[in-house]
């Protein structure tokens, strides 16, 4: 059953990579309430910073955190300058982040050109697990994803920061009474989400290369992860949503055409939204 274990492995790695990509979006949407249409551009930015950094002779392992920091800082500046004035108007934040997407994508092309840039695989070679094969680097990226998700879970449920964040999610006014500086918290959330997007972009760049439109390809899929995973249930929701979207597409496309598989999975996500508007894992409505 080589083929079976291969499907399982590909499904698992696909799920984790999508979860990694979607995590930044889920953080900004779930905690900040902003539907970040600029998420795709942040991914792209992360990949390009990684590529540019490597071109200057910096080793890949150092470029990844640099990309995360650079994109995080850009996100922070954008939040401080623009987004923070619009938290009470979700549609406006959506438009603003779309403007960010338009501007960032174009700046990327002007600065770095339009060519697809290949980022060499830092860990060449394949690994075989129970008869199924994948790249060593893919396994490492999945490991990083698991680590990040665990860290997010720890921060959210085992630290005082997490308690405050959850308090703020439940009741904004109560949180401010408790002395939580909402403004700073939102800045931090946005910057963290941006940094996560940059980190994801950097990490997936050796797998998919850097091209100016790479972000829009992932953006829609990430949105579906958020649909299926639901608001608030950050770690479990993102993981489950990714499994539905990524694993679902792969499994369905084994039996039918790729196109039909994609349609079925997207329809499935809408169905999940209808049955469990707050996500697969969430039982209590957020509001």
């Amino acid at each position: 059953m080589d083929s079976f274990s291969q499907v399982i492995l590909d499904g698992a790695t696909g799920t984790l990579i999508l979860a990694l990509v979607a995590l930044g979006l889920a953080v900004i949407f779930g905690l900040g309430g902003v539907l970040n249409l600029g998420h795709g551009a942040m991914l792209t930015l992360g990949a390009y910073v990684t590529w540019a950094c490597q071109m200057h002779g910096v080793p890949f392992i150092a470029c990844v955190p640099i990309a995360a920091v650079v994109v995080g800082v850009i996100g922070l500046l954008f939040e401080l300058a623009v987004v923070r004035h619009f938290y009470d108007r979700p549609f406006e934040t959506l438009l603003i982040t779309y403007a960010f997407y338009l501007i960032a994508t174009q700046v990327i092309q002007i600065v770095w050109g339009r060519a697809v840039h290949n980022i060499p695989n830092p860990l060449p070679g394949n690994v075989t697990i129970a008869g199924a094969s994948t790249r060593v680097y893919t396994i490492v990226v999945c490991g990083v994803c698991i680590a990040l998700l665990s860290l997010t879970w720890l921060v959210m449920y085992r630290t005082s920061v997490g308690t405050r964040l959850r308090a703020m999610l439940q009741n904004r006014e109560m949180a401010s009474l408790l002395g939580i500086d909402a403004s700073r918290t939102y800045s931090a959330i946005f910057a963290t989400g941006a940094a996560l997007a940059g980190l994801a972009g950097a990490l997936i760049s050796p797998l998919f290369s850097a091209s100016p439109d790479m972000g829009s390809l992932w953006l829609v899929r990430s949105f579906f992860v958020v649909i299926a995973g639901g608001l608030g249930a950050l770690v479990g929701g993102t993981l489950l949503g990714s499994a539905v979207i990524s694993g679902g597409t792969d499994v369905f496309s084994l039996f039918t055409s790729q196109v039909f598989a994609q349609t079925v999975v997207f329809a499935l996500a809408i169905l999940i939204l209808r049955v469990r508007p707050e996500g697969l894992l969430r039982k209590v409505p957020a509001r």
């Binding site: 590909d10 339009r114 697809v116 790249r135 680097y137 998919f208 091209s211 790729q258």
Partner: protein, 423 residues
């Protein structure tokens, strides 16, 4: 016309608002009247050429070479004083990799910019979109890309008397090397492509030829443009026990596809033959995911002949850092051949230029000799099969030519009406 409040505003405020309203509503007017057309079909002004090229969207990676090829040739033509004593002037329009935009922009170039002829469009879908416009305006379109051949009258962009094909079609790009690949790498072919006309039609023709040669098609699959995950497709390829994976996946999708093929571990157990991944997309795929794979085109940067050496020198000087490919070179050839045709015909008038292009031979192409077949406006081109070198570092050492044909006579087109003439 519009329903106003029955009570109506007072006369004074009406006048005031109307005046302000006029200012607001008239704002778009300058946009309408801006941009007057100059040049035109006859006369002594510059010859205006509308170039439709993807400068944004997923196919921008090809747009650069596409445009650079035509611009370099235009510079060379203008350096010699243009054609018929008239300089060439390019009017570049961004197709945004969107066929709908192509229709719109082609109309603009024809109706507002009064271009004398068109060059470009990148994919078959874009060419098809531009076709009704060039037909209506009765202008020529010089199309540079490798494509599916002219076997279905259904689309307006094939068997069109106003379109000339400077790129190769499957009988030129694929047929010459099928036997070599069969004998060397095995009979079991899996055909995988992006879901649109070029891959589907190419695979249809390849299937027919394979059957003739004793090969076997063990699978055929198409992924919609914009696919990021190829896990399911790769499993199908694995389960089919494939010898040769014949790939017509294009653009960024092909980058994802081949990266995932490498990570699935399947790459080592089969041979990849791509008919879509030239120098720029192979740069994106990277050395690891492309090493040892084959590609076939009518031109490779790696060609070692004096014409190409000269071309590469000129290109590197004018557009340093541009990754050139067969489409860019065919744009280059299209410009030079159009110049020859205009000189020969003594006019840029469509009918005369068409006659001038027919049976035209261009000896100075970077890949060898190019002949424009009169009957169906299909170029007869050289063809090459190349193998990707292990651990290549750039376009200079990326491909190694393993097979070459000096000039392929393309299969006859099956248009309803041949030769292609305007009714």
């Amino acid at each position: 016309m519009t329903s106003l409040d029955p009570a109506g505003p007072s006369r004074r405020s009406f006048l005031k608002t109307a005046a302000l309203a006029g200012v607001v509503a008239a704002a778009p007017l300058p946009l309408l009247s801006a941009c007057g057309a100059s040049g035109g079909g006859s006369g002594s002004g510059p010859i205006r050429i509308g170039v439709l090229t993807p400068l944004s969207g997923p196919w921008t990676i090809f747009g650069k070479a596409h445009l650079a090829g035509f611009q370099l040739a235009t510079d060379q033509i203008n350096a010699k004083g243009g054609t018929l004593g008239r300089k060439w002037e390019l009017v570049v329009a961004d197709s945004k990799t969107d066929s709908t935009v192509v229709t719109q922009q082609a109309n603009r170039l024809a109706k507002q910019e009064n271009v004398d002829f068109f060059a470009g469009t990148f994919t078959s879908a874009e060419r098809n979109a531009a076709a009704p416009v060039v037909t209506a305006a009765d202008k020529l379109l010089l199309y540079p890309t490798f494509y599916e051949g002219q076997n279905q009258d259904f689309y307006p962009g094939v068997c069109n008397p106003n379109i000339f094909m400077f790129g190769s079609e499957p009988s030129g790009q694929v047929y010459p090397f099928l036997e070599y690949m069969l004998n060397k790498h095995g009979k079991r072919f899996f055909l995988a492509g992006s879901d649109y006309v070029w891959p589907r039609e190419t695979n249809r023709l390849v299937k027919a030829k394979l059957a003739e040669l004793g090969g076997e098609v063990v699978g055929e699959a198409y992924a919609p443009i914009g696919t990021a995950q190829f896990g399911g497709l790769i499993e199908k390829i694995r389960n089919a026990d494939t010898d040769v994976l014949f790939l017509s996946v294009v653009g960024s999708d092909s980058v994802a596809m081949r990266q995932q093929l490498l990570s699935s571990g399947l790459k080592d157990s089969l041979t990849v033959w791509s008919v879509g991944n030239e120098e720029s997309s192979t740069s994106g795929i990277g050395p690891a995911a492309s090493a040892g794979d084959y590609a076939s085109f009518d031109y490779f940067w790696a060609l070692d002949n004096p014409k190409n050496v000269e071309f590469k020198r000129a290109m590197t000087k004018k557009f340093p850092g541009t990754i050139m490919n067969n489409v860019g070179v065919d744009m280059y050839n299209a410009a030079h051949m159009a110049a020859l045709a205009i000189e020969k015909a003594g006019s840029v008038e469509t009918a005369k230029m068409r006659a001038g292009l027919e049976d035209l031979v261009f000896e100075d192409a970077p890949q060898g000799k190019v002949t424009m077949r009169a009957e169906d406006h299909q170029a007869a081109l050289p063809s090459f099969l190349a193998k990707v070198r292990e651990g290549w570092t750039g376009v200079d050492d990326m491909f190694e030519i393993v097979q070459s044909v000096d000039q392929v006579v393309p299969s006859d087109s099956t248009c309803a009406k041949l030769p292609l003439r305007r009714p």
